[in-house]
Symmetry: C2
């Protein structure tokens, strides 16, 4: 059977195969994604993000298990943009709880930069759509919430769960502030630790200052290792989706997400044009050399490259 | 006197003024940067990066003070790309040691996304060149080394000092692996903590696996708070520059840096074209809407936008 039909029939191996094709930037794979795209849009896509050491993986696993109890199909995409060569993603897959990985109603995939010729953002976006067509009711996209590329990835979901933990240093707090605006639901994990109440209170206070235009995000305490508060957190995540549907905000949000996705593809194509063995690529080498020698400057160099792209 | 002449004369206030103009994306400011660009290239530009909580600011301050003792002029640019609205940068400036800030031979500037209309990367690059022309012998660019945008910024320097600290969690270790390849000198900070020797040893082992083509980076133990090992670290940083000059690698590296800088400017211009109130901007809105409704897909949408950019 064709790959697209197999995915529509809920074939996990076909999903894995197509994601790999997109990662390898194979035209055939991308053509299949284009073909099945119209069948996507049914899953609730949930971003899980937070500082390093926040317990994202464990919490995602617990949420997935809770959804399985409720009879739902689940996809998990663990994104690790910080590992260009560490092989961390592969390791991550192995560490993940075996019971989830062998559950026929759960599809787990780790994605890193390594071997990802198609670009991490493109592969992640396509993987979401593939799991959507595969029939996942809920898809988790899990990533460290620290840099712009991570924020870009987690932005293109329906609901962002921002994980916080008590007692991290000042630098972490700064990171928290930087990405706080993208959170729809806040989970203070490791709620058994000292300082959890204080962290939750601080969060409430920051949110009272009004980062969000409309609905003030809820702050919930959870302990993923002890499996406390997970079901309540899940209810709140689902409630955020209901809210968006009821208020007609979902379409607007998905338009914004599509915009980010298209822009990433545009950027990728232009970068290939500029960095490849093309006329523009040669020009870039020349102006970079002249700039380094101070015979020109980056701004005039930029003008030359933009002109060449347009030709 | 004109701003460019004042900067060439070592006027700190003129530097601050021009950096602000670039941050505000004022054409006049960028024209001045273009004009003075040919006078840059004399400073040794040093990137200071590492995980959150690694003690980057303190170490940078100590290195700057050591250089002042040696009679050198110093520029410090503290980049905080994770703070789009927290005002962390302003706070950071105030927290910085007052004795450095009031030293006429030291220029300190914090840069964040907030109010940075010119784009953080562009502003940072221009600030480096401005401080270079101002007469700084050494310029530190300090940033959290966790995401792609941070790595992009710290990449465009002559020498990257990667700070490590003992006893961070697994996620941090993954981040470390992700950015390790860009380090020219490694500093294990907080060397008085348990585990510092182990961290240094692990680093040595990873570096033995050969991330670098040529010179294996040195691993040095420092304690920035106790001011131990700072002078030796500085000597090693200077020795890295000597090595690049002696082996003719500096020009090649600066060409690569110029390439990244030009590409960032190209990207910015194209994004302005696509996201502005332009024909392409309108097209993007349309295809994003259709994509969200699954009437088209992001790949066909991308083709339409790229065609429009070229027109």
């Amino acid at each position: 059977m064709d790959l697209d039909k197999r995915i529509l029939n809920g074939d996990k191996r076909a999903c894995a195969r197509l994601i790999t094709m997109v990662e390898n930037n194979e035209k055939e794979g991308i053509d299949i994604v284009k073909k099945i795209y119209k069948h996507s849009g049914n899953a609730h896509v949930i971003g899980i993000t937070g500082p390093p050491g926040g317990g994202k993986s464990t919490l995602t696993d617990k949420l997935a298990k809770e959804l399985r109890k409720r009879g739902k199909k689940v996809g998990i995409i663990a994104v690790d943009p910080t590992s260009p060569f560490s092989g961390g993603s592969i390791l991550g897959d192995r560490i993940r709880m075996q019971d989830l990985a062998t559950d026929p109603g759960v599809f787990i995939r780790s994605m890193g930069t390594r071997g990802n010729l198609g670009g991490l953002s493109k592969s992640t976006q396509s993987a979401i759509k593939i799991l959507d067509v595969y029939g996942a009711d809920y898809i988790f996209v899990e990533t460290v919430g620290v840099g712009q590329s991570e924020v870009d990835i987690v932005k293109t979901v329906d609901t962002v769960v921002m994980i916080m933990v008590p007692g991290l240093g000042d630098d972490i707090q700064a990171i928290k502030a930087g990405v706080m605006e993208i959170g729809d639901v806040f989970a203070v994990n490791k709620s058994d630790l000292d300082g959890a109440d204080k962290t939750a209170l601080e969060l409430e206070m920051m949110l009272d200052m009004g980062f969000k235009e409309d609905k003030k995000p809820k702050v919930l305490k959870v302990s993923s290792s002890k499996n406390e508060g997970v079901s309540t957190l899940l209810d709140e995540v689902i409630s955020h989706m209901d809210y968006m549907i009821d208020t007609d905000k979902l379409q607007k949000r998905r338009e914004e997400n599509a915009k980010v996705e298209i822009l990433n593809l545009v950027e990728e194509e232009i970068m290939q044009m500029v960095l490849g063995k093309t006329k523009t690529g040669q020009l870039l080498d020349e102006v970079s050399k002249k700039t380094a020698l101070r015979k020109t400057n980056p701004y005039d160099g930029k003008d030359i490259i933009v002109k060449s792209i347009k030709e």
